[in-house]
């Protein structure tokens, strides 16, 4: 038996209405979810967003920090802060970050980089926070 014929015989008008509505709802939700841009990092200077970098594009951007230029590097879907050397540059300690919600920062420069999105329920080596 041909499939369309079987479907026509097996389904009621209401069945077909439900099929249409649910298919439409799934497609619409799929398109809205898919339409969201890929992962990106937001760069904050003094807690104000100044730069958004898609992690899909390798790049190096220089930004004027409070104490001089700070370089932000994106490579292979990861991002890090470069060059300014200071024991308080938390960026040097964290190195590359890539997971949603992860941050790296140069505290004295006033520069914070955050990967968009919310972290998994237990971020940062499985800890909710590290006391230091």
């Amino acid at each position: 038996m041909k499939f369309p014929a079987l479907l026509a015989r097996a389904s009621t008008p209401m069945d077909r209405l439900v099929m249409g509505i649910t298919a439409l709802a799934i497609v619409v939700s799929g398109v809205t979810a898919h339409g969201k841009p890929g992962k990106q990092a937001v760069v904050f200077r003094d807690n104000r967003p100044v730069l958004t970098l898609p992690l899909s594009q390798d790049t190096k951007k220089e930004l004027a920090g409070r104490l001089g230029p700070v370089t932000i590097q994106v490579e292979q879907g990861r991002v890090r802060l470069l060059e300014y050397q200071s024991p308080r540059m938390i960026g040097t300690r964290t190195g590359w970050i890539q997971g949603a919600g992860r941050t790296t920062a140069c505290v004295p420069c006033g520069v914070l980089v955050r990967v968009e999105g919310q972290p998994e329920n237990t971020p940062d080596q499985g800890f909710d926070a590290v006391s230091e």
Binding site: G101, L112, F127, E132
Partner: protein, 345 residues
């Protein structure tokens, strides 16, 4: 089709969709929402659990705002802050400051008394002599004469040279005394930030402000899972604290801000009696207490006093517990401290 039946069907479908949506909404808050900002010279992170994203975001924004407000009043590095004005005011006469600041100073002076001077909120001039807040950080210790001058000027001053007058004004004894509220103001700020979160309906939260941590509630019945930084390995963790309920945790270490000179590590926790970085044999002190101001003051004081003296002091603070790490890597843990040594990786 019978129109009435059609309407019943549509209503049923909409009802089913609403039921599903509702199902998702009640499961959604079992997520953690984290927000991070640069404030008070450190990274401040707030985590919430059990409220949906918009509510969490709004609450966290308000909490950061509150921290910003307190920083603008109590940071000595902000030229327009009440503390900066007080530090610049002529010595020997009382100076009016906001009531809120009086409360924090009062608490700081009290902790100074209780710790017999190991904790001291009046040592901004000494910090400047050492220059730990300079950027880039210094590479050598200051001349000993500068330290001795400071020690002499401070010698014999009651309450570290800070007086709160009956009119609720502040009197600083001389120019060797200037406020550096540092950690205790941070402790106050996270306490206030937690209050703001709770008023906004967030019952489960963790605030981490570089060494000062404040915890409330839990993570869906699970305690907050907190690591304690390995003082000699910035990637590692030496202990694990699984804490639920209302608790403050503060860590003081010689590894946060320091410089090496001639093989000696000069760190930023100054012993007011030496006029120099504390040399108590401890490299990391973590205190758990009921509130962040107490936890912060005690972790600093214990770091300065060392293991034996520090534990004696702790006995005067029932409910406060400590984890001390010595330079050789051995540790002391008081019986009520919530936490276990982490398995070596």
């Amino acid at each position: 089709m019978n129109p009435r039946r059609w309407w019943i069907m549509m209503l049923g479908l909409i009802g089913a969709a609403a039921l599903l949506t509702w199902g998702f909404m009640i499961t959604a808050p079992t997520r953690m929402y984290v927000s991070t900002r640069l404030q008070m010279g450190t990274l401040v992170s707030i985590s919430t659990w059990g409220v949906e994203e918009n509510k969490a975001d709004r609450a966290m924004d308000l909490a950061f705002e509150e921290i910003g407000r307190i920083e603008a009043m109590m940071s000595r590095f902000m030229p327009e802050s009440a503390v900066a004005h007080l530090n610049q005011a002529p010595r020997g006469e009382p100076h009016a400051v906001p009531e809120e600041l009086i409360g924090v100073i009062e608490r700081g002076v009290e902790m100074g008394r209780l710790t017999r001077g190991a904790f001291d909120i009046g040592i901004a001039p000494l910090s400047d002599v050492w220059g730990f807040s300079r950027e880039p950080p210094p590479e050598a210790p200051p001349p000993t004469a500068a330290i001795h001058n400071w020690l002499d000027a401070r010698n014999g001053l009651p309450d570290q040279g800070i007086t709160i007058t009956p009119e609720q004004q502040i009197l600083l004894a001389n120019t060797a005394v200037a406020l550096d509220l540092g950690g205790i103001a941070k402790g106050y700020a996270v306490e206030r930030a937690l209050e703001v979160l709770q008023r906004a309906g967030v019952a489960n939260a963790l605030i981490n402000a570089g060494g000062d941590m404040r915890i409330a509630g839990a993570k869906g019945g699970q305690p907050w899972h907190i690591g304690l930084r390995d003082p000699r390995n910035p990637e590692g963790v030496v202990a694990v604290m699984d804490v639920a309920g209302s608790r403050a945790i503060s860590t003081s270490g010689d590894y946060e801000r320091y410089f090496m000179s001639d093989g000696v590590r000069y760190h930023h926790i100054l012993d007011p009696k030496l006029g120099a970085p504390a040399r108590s044999g401890l490299i990391s002190v973590t205190v758990q207490a009921a509130d962040s101001m107490t936890a912060d003051a005690l972790s600093t004081a214990l770091f300065v006093l060392g293991g034996e003296e520090g534990l004696k002091l702790l006995r005067h603070f029932p409910g406060s517990e400590a984890f001390l790490i010595r330079a050789d890597g051995t540790f002391i843990k008081t019986p009520g401290f919530i936490g276990t040594k982490a398995a070596p990786r």
